[in-house]
């Protein structure tokens, strides 16, 4: 068997590293194309919308909406066994791109729920989390 990963640590790639550096400083940034004025995510080597290379990292609003979710009852590997059950989701940001993360904070979870994009920091590890967030009426 190819060596199975027993930890959730990873080494960022050159084109993703700025995301994690910003996250460590509690800033939410995504790649932004100066040619076509659009954000994208996950980070890519060029703009997936226009093919341009004029990419910069830019802060974006943290408000997002859950478009899909699942609660995991069977851990994929021993490292996650203590966590089950946990809820994962895809959240769409106000500027379009989506992110994958854990939904935390308890309470009811559902497709369409409003969340705020946040980070959890622990030694050697930063993770995107989604917290339930009541949008202003």
């Amino acid at each position: 068997m190819t060596k199975l990963v027993e930890s959730i640590e990873f080494e960022p790639e050159a084109h993703t590293r700025p995301f994690w550096e910003a996250a460590r400083a509690d800033r939410f940034e995504m790649p932004y194309c100066d040619s076509c004025s659009r954000f994208h995510f996950y980070p890519r080597p060029l703009c997936p919308h226009c093919g341009g290379f004029a990419l910069v990292w830019r802060g974006a609003a943290r408000e997002a909406r859950i478009v899909a979710l699942t609660t995991v009852y069977r851990a994929p590997s021993p490292v996650f066994e203590a966590d089950v059950p946990y809820t994962l989701g895809i959240a769409q940001t106000l500027v379009g791109p989506c992110l994958f993360g854990r939904i935390i904070g308890g309470g009811e979870t559902f497709v369409g729920m409003a969340v705020r994009i946040d980070f959890e920091h622990s030694p050697g590890e930063d993770r995107v989390v989604f917290r339930p967030h009541a949008p202003p009426e």
Binding site: M1, T70, V128
Partner: protein, 389 residues
Amino acid sequence: MAWDAVIVGIGESDLGRVPGVSSLQLMAQAARAALDDCGLRMADIDGLITTPLRLRPMNPPATLLASAFGLSPAWQSTMDLAGASGTAMVHQAAMAIQTGQCTSVLCVGGQNLLSHGSRSTAVQAMAQSGVAHSEFELPHGPLVASLYALVASQHMARFGTTAEQMAEVAVAFRANAAFNPKAHKRELISIADVVASRPITSPLKLLDCSLVSDGAAAFIVTANNPAKDLNQTGVSILGVGYGQRSGYIGETDELVTTGAKESGARAFRGAGLTPDEIDVAELYDCFTITVIVELEDLGFCPKGEGGRFVEGGRLRYDGAFPTTTHGGLLSCAHPGIAGGMFHVVQAVRQLRGAAGAVQVEGAETALVHGNGGVISTHCTIILGAEHTV
């Protein structure tokens, strides 16, 4: 336009739990069965396609197989479109023949996914196989099933699809598998059994998920006028299409419409057929929701209607739209990337009129669909019985 290449031989190894047999031995069994089926010898094979094995590092699999089988192929390829590899192999073998590279291509793949380690290590290996993004998804702990569960959650929220409707797919494919003597799981199950099975990653339960199996499949594609007399008449390739809309699942907000829409439309255009002219479908079924989305995207029912479409046993061998009549990944076998090859093998059986108890009477057209990654990359092929050409 039919291609100048036909599928002439099909074969499978022992399937299910096959302890003490290596991946190479399983593939050798399947290759031998396909050669015997059509009356070719290994020495007649001058082209070879296989899929990667993800259990251990190795030489490029096609080169490894060529030397293991004593072949010196004029053309070979190790192709990886994940679950779409089975259908894409048919097309790529036909292209190699049509462009004059070779005349008889052995397509073979499979592995001892279950007996190599354990079910748990296989589940872990698949979760870590690259299907989840290594930085933005994998560290959160998704199973492969979790990534498809996301699709199911959006389908349910948008269209009112129910757990019971998804269960219909598993129940129908098990009913089909009950007649397949090689199938890994043959005991009949009910909708209640599926819904009450162990929750894995909501809304998917254990019986919504495909198996972990040992096994290999093979088929042989030859020029339309082979050099020697064969035991079988060829099954024709009428249309082929590929499609891809997304890569990683976490990058998209549109989870319920996939590249199967384009792959299907291209295959139908090539074949000059419409969905209502398909007699039997062999759809990739890694999870029950996969089949529901494919039925919609391939045009067998409108978007959002897949749940209602599968109700009442419609996909059973004796239902209104017989689908995945060998039992599929849910009930026949899922040994990894090669899992979609069994769908091709069964489509050939149906078009030969040799599918036994699950034979669709008078089947002249079959659509086979492969889905790779998490609803990412798709290849649809439409096959025809010999006399339809």
